[in-house]
C-alpha cells in the first residue's frame, strides 16, 4: 500500500488540525465557565442547563448540524446578524466546521473539567481567604491550578472528538475541498470513488493515530489529577 501523502492529503490534515485546534481553543473558556457553574452554583434550572450541555452527546449529529444551519445560516437569527454587523459568515466556511466541532466537543470538555473542579478541596479556598486572599486571587492561585489537569484532559478529549467530527459538520458546512473537507469527510468522499481504498486507509490510519494520541494524553493528565498528592489535606 502506498502511504506517501499528496499535497491535497496534506491540505486535509492541515485543515483538520486547524479546525480542531480552533474549536478547542474557542470552546475552552466557555466549557470551563459552564463546568464551574455546574460544579459550584446552585440555582433553579441547573438540571436543564446540565441536560442542554449534554445534548450534543445524545442527539443525532445531523440534527445538531441542522440546528446550526437554522441558527447560523444566512437567514438564521445569529447568522444574519453576524453577517450584518461583522460581515462574518460561518456557513460553508472552515470557521463553521470549527463551530460544529466545538459544539460536538463541548459535553466531553465540560464533563472532564467539572469532575476536576468538584475534586478541588474547597477548604483550601477557605484557608486562602483567611490568609487575606480575595475571591479572585483564591480562584487564580488555588482553584484554577488545582483543576488544571482536568482542564487539559478535557481539552485533549475535545480535540480527539473534534478530529472525528463528521455528521454535524457535513450538514452545516458541506464538503468543500480545501475549506471544509476534514479527515472524516475526506474519508467519506474517497469512499464514494471506486478504487480509492488506499486513500481511505491512509486517512483512516492518520485519524486513528491523532485521536489515540489525544486520548492517551487526556488519560495521563486525568490520572495525574486524581493521584493523591495531598495526604495532609484529605
Amino acid at each position: 500500500m502506498d502511504f506517501s501523502l499528496s499535497p491535497q492529503d496534506w491540505t486535509v490534515i492541515g485543515l483538520s488540525l486547524k479546525v480542531s485546534l480552533v474549536a478547542v481553543a474557542a470552546m475552552l473558556p466557555i466549557a470551563f465557565a459552564l463546568a464551574w457553574v455546574l460544579a459550584r452554583w446552585r440555582f433553579p434550572g441547573k438540571l436543564l442547563l446540565d441536560a442542554l450541555v449534554h445534548l450534543p452527546l445524545v442527539v443525532p449529529p445531523v440534527v445538531t448540524g441542522w440546528l446550526l444551519l437554522l441558527l447560523f445560516g444566512i437567514n438564521g437569527p445569529i447568522g444574519s446578524r453576524l453577517d450584518q454587523w461583522f460581515g462574518v459568515t460561518l456557513l460553508f466556511r472552515w470557521t463553521g466546521a470549527a463551530l460544529a466541532a466545538a459544539i460536538m466537543a463541548m459535553p466531553l470538555m465540560v464533563r472532564a473539567m467539572r469532575l476536576s473542579i468538584e475534586s478541588v478541596d474547597r477548604r483550601l479556598e477557605q484557608a486562602a481567604q483567611t490568609l487575606g486572599a480575595s475571591p479572585l486571587r483564591s480562584f487564580l492561585s488555588i482553584s484554577l491550578p488545582l483543576s488544571l489537569p482536568g482542564v487539559f484532559a478535557g481539552a485533549m478529549l475535545g480535540f480527539a472528538r473534534s478530529i472525528g467530527e463528521f455528521g454535524a459538520t457535513i450538514t452545516f458546512v458541506s464538503d468543500i475541498p480545501g475549506e471544509t473537507r476534514t479527515l472524516p469527510i475526506a474519508i467519506y468522499a474517497a469512499l464514494q470513488v471506486p478504487g480509492a481504498e488506499t486513500a481511505v486507509s491512509r486517512f483512516a490510519l492518520i485519524s486513528v493515530l491523532l485521536s489515540l494520541g489525544a486520548l492517551l494524553m487526556s488519560e495521563i493528565l486525568a490520572r495525574r489529577a486524581t493521584q493523591g498528592r495531598m495526604p495532609h489535606v484529605l
Binding site: R123, L131, G132, A133, R229, H232
Partner: protein
C-alpha cells in the same frame, strides 16, 4: 477585653451557641466532639455566618448582627490553624509561607523560620512533610499574615506523641512573646489546663 463573643447559629437540628467575655491571652475552648467547636472558630474567622450575636476581639468588631457588621474573612486578619492543616498541596513550603504575607507583622520571615525551625523545609512539597512539620509550617504561614489573633483547632491532633511537647512549647512561646489573643480548641482538659489562662466549656446541645 481580648475576647467578647456572643453568637448563636442553628446547624441542622442543633444550636451552636457561645457567650464569652474574657481578658485572657489564651482561652481554651473545650467540649466533646460534635459540640460545634470548629463551627465556632469558623464563625470567628468569617467562614460561617452566625444567625445573631457579635464577635469583638481586642476591641475590633468583626461581626455584629444588630449593627449589620460582617467583615469578609480576608479582612478579619485571623491566623487560623485548621485541624486538617490545609497547606496548599501544589505549592512548596516557601510559597505556602509567603501566600498570606502582609506587612505589619511583628516578625520577619527569617525570624519566623528561626522561631519554628522550618528553614530547612522551604523547598519541600507539603505532601512530603510529617504531621509536626506541616503543623509548624501552617503556624508560620499564619504568623506571616500579620494576624491580630490566632485560632487553633486541635493543633496537636495530627502530631505524633513525641512531637506534641515541641508544638506545645511553641504555643506557649506564642502566647507569652507575641501578645496575640489565642482561642484554642481542644477536647483534652490537660492540654487546656496547661496552656490556657481561661477555660470555657462548650455547652453540650
Amino acid at each position: 477585653m481580648s475576647f467578647d463573643i456572643a453568637v448563636r447559629r442553628r446547624l441542622g437540628d442543633r444550636d451552636i451557641a457561645l457567650q464569652c467575655r474574657a481578658d485572657a491571652r489564651l482561652i481554651a475552648l473545650i467540649g466533646p466532639s460534635g459540640a460545634g467547636k470548629t463551627s465556632l472558630l469558623n464563625m470567628i474567622a468569617g467562614l460561617l455566618t452566625p444567625d445573631a450575636g457579635h464577635i469583638r476581639i481586642d476591641g475590633e468588631t468583626l461581626f455584629d448582627s444588630a449593627a449589620r457588621i460582617d467583615l469578609a474573612p480576608a479582612d478579619r486578619h485571623a491566623g487560623y490553624l485548621f485541624q486538617d492543616v490545609r497547606l496548599f498541596p501544589h505549592m512548596r513550603v516557601d510559597r505556602n509561607l509567603r501566600y498570606g504575607r502582609r506587612p505589619g507583622g511583628s516578625l520577619s520571615q527569617a525570624e519566623v523560620l528561626d522561631f519554628l525551625g522550618i528553614g530547612h523545609l522551604l523547598h519541600r512539597m507539603p505532601a512530603t512533610l510529617s504531621g509536626g512539620e506541616a503543623q509548624r509550617v501552617a503556624i508560620g504561614r499564619a504568623l506571616l499574615s500579620a494576624p491580630r489573633f490566632l485560632l487553633m483547632d486541635e493543633p496537636l491532633s495530627g502530631v505524633d506523641r513525641a512531637r506534641r511537647e515541641e508544638i506545645m512549647r511553641l504555643i506557649e512561646r506564642l502566647r507569652d512573646d507575641m501578645r496575640l489573643p489565642i482561642l484554642y480548641v481542644t477536647h483534652d482538659l490537660r492540654e487546656a489546663e496547661r496552656l490556657a489562662d481561661r477555660i470555657v466549656e462548650m455547652p453540650d446541645t
